[in-house]
Symmetry: none
Subunit: 195 residues, 4 copies
DNA sequence: GATGAATGAGCTTTCATTCAT
DNA sequence: TATGAATGAAAGCTCATTCAT
């Protein structure tokens, strides 16, 4: 993609993130995104097939980015304990820096429209898979104790997700940074990680 | 409310639960609910102010029910450990028996439309509060160790929520009943519950 | 179909005929038809699937009617000569009484949009078939001389069609009634009909 | 017009003929013509005022060509009989060699959009006039018998038009060349042309 | 002259809601 | 109370046309 094209593509995606976060996917008109992006309505359709494609692209682009960042962050970690803490920290940091994305994620992650769900599920599943890999490896290396990796992932992700959800819906949220340690402490107990 | 009126009210709410679960709130037309409930489109508006009111009523009615059931179930429990396990079991059992409600909960819990969110948040907050009460009491009685009750609740609820989410979106889910023990085992570790 | 439903259906079809005749299918907005029919835009869609369906229904309804009238008119005829004259007369009379339909026929008969063409071609082909039957019978009974029935039909129909076309596009057309004899006289020569 | 300018002008007209024939005037986007002509969308507007102007130009250019060819072909004819046969042959030959133009003619000849109709009617009327001239002269020279020249022209043109229409819409048309004689034989009878 | 990205007016269609019966 | 035909506002999307490069 050429430079200015890529820039406008990202500008529309940024605008969509903001707009979806504020109004929700269905309540948000395409014209609102266009206005926010500073382009004409029709321009949107030079970059995206339709409204749904904006949402889907938003996910693969932003979530892809997010997962990549997570991946990079754990690469230098030595132990499972470090890896888990690293994911918590990066997850919180990323969402804190991308509040609108966090909201959209919270909101649209569970769209029931099957078409949308399917399209969205890819990146999310990838993240789930990554977490499960870390857990599996931890079990193998006997760094953690865990009877069921899937349930472990559900707890791990569910906790982060619920924390974000609270943070997102709170008017005056305490910084997510402040609860990293608290969350990790719980995980340590759950996974029987030695001090 | 008179008997037959109450019955039709519930019939519409049942229909709405099914329909919202299948199509999602926005994608589901009021006429679909009407058809499923076996009433005319116009009749809906004799019982509900508008489409949004159906969703909101659905939540306060069904979630109210749910919370009441949870409350009843923990009333006979002696220890925090029992209470937590009881919540897990009842939560899973209720959702398993009301799959459509579970789906709607998953989907619409995070509506971004501020009006809807506000209306929905009531029952959910009540549930959060209940969990936090149990945790607080557990800390006070030194039955569990927990640095931050809110984060504890996030982990507790988030885990259940993520489990339901997986269960709901899976074509062939393993019964939730089967993971109660697994989930509880994690909680025991997290909250440092003695064996 | 119930009485009032049928009436409104016909009213919309009448309005569509007028509107298509005046503006052409593509240039005519659905809202114009609705206005002319005295109904709301949305009402149109209670009776027709979409804009195209209006055109298609218009054809099968009106052309069906037309062909039926032609059929009825020739039933009492004894000779091929009478039948041909009868078709000419009825064709002209019908179109003269349904000027808008005549225009729509002229205009949309040759739509290139394949979907529309296909849908429209049915009734027209039926008419062609009817003419060819009359000609074939005439040849068999030796009431006319004709080397090729299809070409004979092309001439017969083409002539009527061109006459209507002129009449339709003329501001001050001479009545079609006035040229029945002239047209028939040409046919008599072409088909070698004995005096 | 300069040489390369004229070439590009014709290239666009060629492309438009193909594209209109395939999709119809309204269904065909300007961008499709541009693509087919191998030029940018904007370039079209350096040669034509707007989409409508393409259609109109197409007609005056191509139909002008057609009529000129007809004119040239009858110039060497001695009798009305020869002239009529010559028109039939040339008409068929030209359309057979320019199938797309034939389609466009069939389709758009009867546009209801008044502006387009008016613009198109010029060349067509010229052709009508030419036919009528031949017929009038034939009557005057007593080579044909015809009560009404206009009706005569309607029959003559209508027949050719209907034949083309069939040919155009048929998947496997018999060559028009094959029906020249058949058509002429009918004309001979209609116009009482002596053998 | 040539380009093609950008524009935005205008279209078809949907669907929550109303109201005469 | 119940109905369901009718409403009409509103939204996604297309595409002829423009204009900066």
């Amino acid at each position: 993609m050429s430079k200015p094209r890529e820039e406008k593509y990202q500008a529309i995606l940024d605008a969509a993130t903001e707009a979806f976060a504020e109004y929700g996917y269905f309540t948000c008109q395409v014209s609102k995104i266009a206005k926010l992006a500073g382009v004409a309505d029709g321009t949107i359709y030079l970059y995206f097939k339709n409204k749904e494609d904006i949402l889907v692209s938003l996910f693969s682009d932003r979530m892809g980015n997010f997962i990549q960042e997570i991946r990079q962050s754990i690469v230098k970690c030595q132990t499972t304990q470090e890896r888990l803490f690293c994911i918590i920290r990066t997850h919180f940091k990323y969402m804190e820096e991308n509040r609108s994305l966090a909201i959209v994620t919270q909101i649209e992650l569970r769209q029931s429209d099957p078409k949308i769900r399917e399209a969205i599920s890819g990146p999310l599943r990838e993240y789930f898979h990554l977490i499960e890999q870390v857990l599996t490896e931890g079990v193998e290396k006997q760094e953690i104790i865990l009877a069921d990796v899937k349930v472990g992932r559900q707890m791990f992700f569910g906790t982060l997700d619920a924390a974000i959800s609270d943070w997102v819906s709170s008017k005056k949220p305490r910084p997510l940074e402040g609860i990293e340690e608290l969350v990790f402490e719980l995980m340590r107990g759950a996974f029987k990680i030695k001090q």
